[in-house]
Symmetry: C2
Subunit: 103 residues, 2 copies
């Protein structure tokens, strides 16, 4: 791998996963499909508005898919796509580094 040549794809990836809360949201969804409130519960410091915004971005980026189940009341769940699930290695690498190096 040549670190001296900048790769635009890398920049796009960093732009997606580097946004505040996004890494945490993906980490929560790696545990399986979740409802909005379940995600919120894991990340209490994040506002509803912020989570809504991030989920829209992640849907647009093809990382999350939104399932609507026509029950009463309607049930909506968010799930990682294959592209989103493939972020597991990234999330794991960050996790391992932080456990070793962050005080």
């Amino acid at each position: 791998m040549n670190y001296n040549t900048m790769c635009p794809k890398y920049e796009v990836a960093i732009e997606i996963i580097g946004k505040k809360w996004t890494g945490l949201i993906i980490r929560v969804l790696l545990g399986g499909a979740k409802r909005f409130k379940e995600i919120k519960k894991q990340i209490p410091d994040m506002s509803d508005r912020m989570l809504t915004e991030r989920m829209k971005e992640l849907e647009a980026a093809g990382i999350v898919i939104r399932h609507v189940y026509p029950e009463t009341p309607v049930r909506i769940e968010y799930e990682l796509t294959q592209k989103g699930t493939a972020l597991r290695n990234v999330i794991t690498a960050i996790q391992q580094w932080s456990e070793e190096w962050v005080d």
Copy 2:
């Protein structure tokens, strides 16, 4: 690994490596110690002011060390510490994901 439990260390790591340009700066420095101008050359869209700011943050986080060589003119180089070099796995994982999934 339990994705349902939020880890403060992970948040700190994301906070460091998720900032705009930081991933790219680390990627450049994985290629070896570099002078300010050499880093700039690899990331032409980043302003001098931004690079200065990021390098100070990375020094403060213990990821980069600044070497001053008392030559004439003085030579200053930036190098990854052990903590910084350990980010290779993170950077590589992001690189691989982006090559596979970003159009």
